[in-house]
């Protein structure tokens, strides 16, 4: 299978979906720029033109409502936010209307298949308002589906699945992953929504990770293998619906669970997955579950503070070793150098 970057995979998924379904259109700030959302909408614009890929003013709430209204008439709008932090402004339409639409009208008003693509920022001084990840916040509410592709294949596959789904789906794409390469099938193969993925098999510890933390977990697992520790890495992929079965199967197998998330701990993914294990796989747990998440403060800007703020591969590896009551040697070497140069 050929390799694509995450960005190329997002683009290919979008283009193939648009080929299959003429009802799909793409809008949002900057979707028709030459830079096209880090390149992910450029090909769609080239292929399908400005009638299907077009810019929008800065009006997050109404734009989401507009997408809902178009969806109610048979369209499949894709609304893109260059940063998901702007979506707070659209929460009312998304949570109070799109998520509830099918249910609240007793199934009689049809469905509103709006897809929201939103980019999660990280680092390079983006600061507190441009680097949050709203996945748990959104996924608290029934009616939405919320997915986070980590690997290029899922960047494409989840895009395809979202654009075939009949309900509202939010795709949170991590900015730090856009350059990541990996195998991606050429055919339009959707990644089913609501299904986690065991991306690395192991026997000693289960690490359930979301988004960028999957890549960090894989890096940690590779290093830990050298130490004789076998780590199973589960890419959560979908935070609503949550694939409880895959997670529980892994936890029951290894008996140890670490959850690594790209957002905060309180009321986040790391707590949810930990609670799931404690409720449904309790008898198989060999020790306490562990949660790894952002430091409990808004995102700072200055580089040394950012370094302290974000968990990474070495943090995961250290935590895994401590769960096994082993002390860690110096692990910082496994963290890649931060050579990000923008555009942020």
């Amino acid at each position: 299978m050929r390799n694509l970057t995450y960005a190329e995979a997002l683009s290919e998924g979008l283009v193939q979906a648009m080929e299959q379904d003429p009802a799909i259109f793409v809008t949002g700030i900057a979707v028709d720029y030459s830079s096209g959302i880090f390149g992910t909408t450029v090909e769609a614009l080239r292929r399908f033109g400005p009638s299907r890929v077009f810019d929008a003013p800065a009006m997050e709430n109404a734009l989401t409502g507009i997408a809902i209204g178009a969806a109610a008439m048979g369209k499949r709008p894709v609304v893109v936010h260059p940063r998901n932090d702007f979506m707070f402004l659209a929460f009312d339409q998304l949570i109070n209307l799109a998520a509830k639409w099918r249910y609240m009208y007793g199934g009689r008003a049809g469905r509103v298949p709006v897809v929201v693509r939103a980019v999660v920022g990280k680092g390079w001084g983006q600061g507190a308002t441009h680097s949050q990840s709203l996945h748990a916040t959104l996924a608290h509410f029934p009616g939405l589906k919320v997915v986070l592709p980590a690997l290029p294949a899922d960047a494409k596959g989840l895009t395809l699945a979202a654009l075939q789904d009949d309900g509202p789906v939010v795709i949170l794409e991590h900015r730090s992953l856009f350059g990541l390469s990996g195998p991606v099938p050429e055919e339009p193969v959707p990644t089913p929504l609501g299904v986690a993925n065991v991306v690395r098999a192991g026997t000693d510890v289960t690490v359930v990770a979301a988004s960028l933390m999957v890549v960090e977990a894989l890096r940690a697992a590779a290093e830990l293998e050298k130490e004789g520790v076998s780590v199973e890495v589960v890419d959560i992929r979908s935070v609503r619906p949550l694939d409880e079965a895959t997670i529980l199967a892994s936890v029951r197998k290894t008996g140890r669970l670490l959850v690594a998330d790209t957002s905060w701990e309180l009321y986040g993914v790391s707590s949810e997955v930990a609670a799931l294990a404690a409720e449904r796989a309790f008898a198989d747990l060999k020790g306490p579950v562990r949660r790894l998440a952002l430091a409990n403060c808004p995102a700072p800007v200055s580089a040394p503070l950012e370094a302290a703020f974000y968990p990474k591969a070495s943090t995961i590896a250290t935590a895994v070793l401590s769960m096994l009551r082993r002390t860690a040697g110096p692990l910082g070497g496994i963290d890649p150098a931060d050579d990000f140069k923008g555009p942020y």
Binding site: G65, G69, A72, Q93, Y103, G106, G107, P142
Partner: protein, 325 residues
């Protein structure tokens, strides 16, 4: 232009009549506390829904807000499905999942109503976007109140609809109050909502919202422009709510003093139903006997519908998880 035929005028009257008699009956029944759903009755404001909806075509779509019964009914919704929804029955238009503020009836061009102020203004704009993209001659209409014009989403939608020249008619029912708050605590003095809409380059008109013929005529005029591709339009209908904000009582029954009984009575003098009836009689477009016969017919429809609704079935608890995603 648009001088309505006698047939149209008779239909307009009948529509106002049907709305009035239905809401009055529902309000009476609501006092039994068997309809467990917060309800905003539209008594007194019928001419807006009746006048605008008569000007629509079958393929047009209507969106509404919390005070939605009139729009639902004027757009052809059944009294039975409405009453059943209020009674929480599975036969309700939203199967007892939505309640009074969340009605739907896509089969007759009523998409949805919603309880969050301003929400459906954007949604209607989005349906209009779909129509424009498809090049179909359909129009989307949003009904909303004066308070929705305080929410930012209204202006975001105006700006978008005008920028894209979308076929949407935005109808504001200005009944002078948001819950118990009069206009002057919410808008600068001298405010003309039409001036605001015009500043966004919409064609905008204000009309006597208690005159169903005037509403119909203004709506038809604006809709002509919308259909001709001249972009969105805004229609402000000045009217008045007779009952309390939410619930079936008159404010004076509840000893509320945010507005005076005199003010209410002055507006009741301008009753849209009586005015429409008087006009028909004066023009010889209907006789007193006809008006009375229509009333009897409507009452019959309503009585039969509410009885059937009340006798409807409760949703099964097992159906709780139907239609989540």
């Amino acid at each position: 232009m648009h001088s309505p035929t006698i047939e149209t005028r008779r239909r307009l009257y009948q529509s106002v009549l049907r709305l009035r008699r239905t809401e009055e009956r529902l309000a009476a029944l609501y006092r039994d506390q068997e309809m467990r759903t917060p309800t905003h009755f539209g008594v007194g404001q019928e001419a807006v829904a009746a006048g605008v909806c008569e000007a629509l075509d079958a393929q047009d779509v209507v969106y509404s807000h919390h005070r939605c019964h009139n729009h639902y009914l004027a757009r052809g919704g059944s009294v039975f499905a409405l009453a059943a929804e209020l009674y929480g029955r599975d036969e309700g238009c939203s199967r007892g999942r939505g309640g009074s503020v969340h009605l739907t009836g896509p089969d007759h061009g009523f998409m949805i109503s919603s309880a969050i102020l301003g929400q459906t203004i954007a949604v209607a704009t989005g349906s209009a976007l779909a129509f424009k993209m498809d090049g179909v001659p359909r129009v989307a209409v949003a009904f909303f109140g004066d308070a929705a014009c305080e929410e930012g989403i209204f202006y975001e939608s105006l700006n978008y609809a005008a920028t894209h020249g979308l076929p949407v008619l935005l109808v504001c029912e200005n009944n002078l109050y948001s819950t118990e708050s009069p206009l002057q605590v919410r808008q600068p003095s001298g405010t003309q909502l039409c001036e605001r809409a015009a500043a966004f380059k919409l064609r905008a008109e204000q009309v006597d919202g208690n005159d169903v013929f005037a509403v119909h005529q203004a709506a038809s005029r604006l809709l002509d422009g919308v259909r001709q591709g001249r972009g969105p339009a805004f229609l402000e209908c000045m009217t008045y709510r007779w009952l309390e904000h939410v619930g079936p009582c008159f404010d004076h029954e509840m000893n509320r003093s945010y507005r005076s009984r005199e003010e209410l009575e002055a507006w009741m003098e301008r009753c849209p139903l009586r005015r429409a009836g008087d006009a028909l009689l004066a023009q010889g477009a209907a006789t007193r006997d006809e008006l009375e016969a229509w009333r009897v017919d409507v009452d019959h429809e309503v009585e039969e519908a509410v009885a059937r609704a009340k006798a409807g079935s409760w949703p099964e608890p097992e159906s709780l998880f139907d239609n989540v995603y």
